[in-house]
Symmetry: C2
Subunit: 339 residues, 2 copies
């Protein structure tokens, strides 16, 4: 019923970043480890999730979630181990995934918390392939993108947590898949390990030109994680009735307010009778179990490989690790493992 | 069997315009009036259609139609009166609508030509409310926009040929309708004559602010004819699951190549789970009769008013009349009536 002794280290939002997030935007705080009340449990963080979408949560503007409040513990998905519990459904020793924030210890009333089985899959998988990025890839590609067998799929941010899943799911569905990523290592990963048909290195190649080469039948589904010039290049290559899935725009997240680069080639939507559609994965929450089961099956039979980049550290390493996402330094799902 | 005597005045494309179309981009040419061969008829132009989309046909880039060739007669829809015929389906005195080009006389084999009845509606109507702009409004709003009763519709270029029909069809369908147009006269037309619930004068008002006032329940369907900053303003006001219908972008047509202003607020599509979709009205050609009948019914019972701006002149007045579209000088469908 009592927690481990010691302090609860936390990362809180100290001020709203303008452009790139700086060290000074975060406060490193120590609090007493809380004690769970009735109907609560205390979890100790094992794995912290780092996602590009977190950048958006720092801005004070209307979005699909309220912004993280100034002074609040930074919002983050994580896997915790229950170390004390007055909650009937969560027992000491359970592993639980939820939005517990960037802190060593988290108190929870169990809302939005899900017990996971470390025997079925490594704990970190529940933040990646079987977590939000996997759900995002699955519903974005199959529902919003309305993917059909034999179509051509192009995905940007292809070596990232979402992109690597998008491409592999599209291959399972019998599609031609082209990934766009930064650097020869990531591109080699896509074609040699993950089964993509082609990879385009946006740092070394003219993306528009390379798309012409690698999508002889044009693009049926473009799954966009990056925005900016790569989105514009893809728009020039759409097939009739193409679907552009707007999942993210990591190239634009660190822009200062109101300077997002809009897709200048959006009139291709008209010429190609195409659509561009956004979505928020939480809307599909009721169908997560179905998607999780299907993805777990594909992982089990080797058709999907889980790509993760695990950084070992403490809660205090969160700010620096977070920046890896915007420098293109991670391959696959980026997690921080607390020692 | 012989044509009227005299010359056939024509407007041909002399060079490809860069930015705004200039007088020098056109050639004014006289040819002998042609004589119809077997299976052909000769029509004398009565009404010429002037449409923003024609600007796009002048650029040498891939689109839904091939560009007008250098030296070719400018492509245009028109209503002609048959003055000579060797075609079994078209008799002298018939009125025929088709893409006969900017010329006084046109030879046709009847392909894409449709006989219309001047007793049922004024001839010019077949270029507007019962022609391409009417079809564009009808299928764009009801099919691409998937409009539902009780929704809020915003349309830009609202006093134009397409926009004035979009707003009125949306009113027939029981929607709240806000039109965006330039100048107090056009705005008064929308609310006082055409039944719009509100009008925003983009020259005098902050469109984003005005949309907040006039769309208390946000925007379910935004029908865009203009692109640029007005599209961006509308994107900030989308409702959940909104549809943005990309019909045109008249504010961008005269830009020099590759300088189209992309919608910087396109990430609203993500936050609002919304879609932006383009279309080409020709794809609905098989359903024109159904739409024409329905619109004619609405005109007949007074629920839709036909707005037209008829310029009297000759084929040589085409270039100057065409520019009215880009200066916002027309209200409703712009036609050139040949005396």
């Amino acid at each position: 019923m009592t927690a481990d002794a010691g302090a609860n280290r936390q990362i809180r939002l100290a001020r709203r970043p303008v452009g790139e997030v700086r060290a000074e935007d975060w406060a490193h705080v120590s609090e007493a480890v809380p004690v769970p009340g009735d109907g609560e449990f205390l979890g100790r963080t094992r794995y912290l999730s780092l996602d590009p979408a977190m950048r958006g949560w720092l801005d004070d503007r209307p979005s699909y979630l309220p912004p993280v409040g100034l002074g609040d513990v930074m919002r983050a998905g994580s896997v915790v181990e229950v170390v004390a519990s007055n909650h009937p459904k969560f027992q000491v020793g359970d592993h639980v995934v939820g939005a517990f924030g960037v802190q060593e210890y988290a108190l929870s009333d169990g809302k939005g918390a899900l017990t996971v089985d470390p025997a079925l899959a490594p704990l970190s998988t529940y933040l990646g392939a079987l977590g939000m990025p996997g759900m995002t890839a699955y519903f974005g590609l199959l529902e919003v993108g309305a993917l059909k067998e034999g179509e051509t799929v192009v995905v940007s941010g292809a070596a990232g947590a979402v992109g690597s899943m998008v491409g592999q799911i599209a291959k399972v569905k019998g599609c031609r898949v082209v990934g766009i990523a930064g650097g020869p290592e990531k591109c080699a990963l896509l074609t040699e390990e993950l089964g993509f048909d082609a990879a385009i290195d946006y740092r070394a190649e003219d993306v528009r030109e390379a798309l012409r080469t690698h999508t002889p039948d044009r693009i049926d589904v473009y799954f966009d994680n990056v925005g900016g010039p790569i989105l514009d290049a893809a728009l020039t290559r759409l097939a009739t009735h193409a679907r552009v899935v707007v999942c993210g725009a990591i190239s634009q997240y660190n822009n200062e307010e109101d300077t997002v680069q809009g897709p200048a080639n959006y009139l291709s939507l008209l010429v190609r009778r195409a659509r561009m559609e956004g979505f928020v994965v939480f809307d599909y929450a009721r169908r997560y179990p179905e998607a999780t089961a299907e993805i777990a099956g594909w992982i089990g039979d080797g058709r999907i490989r889980v790509k993760e980049q695990v950084v070992e550290g403490t809660v205090d390493d969160f700010p620096e690790t977070f920046q890896m996402l915007f420098r293109g330094e991670n391959t696959g799902k980026l997690v921080l493992r607390l020692g």
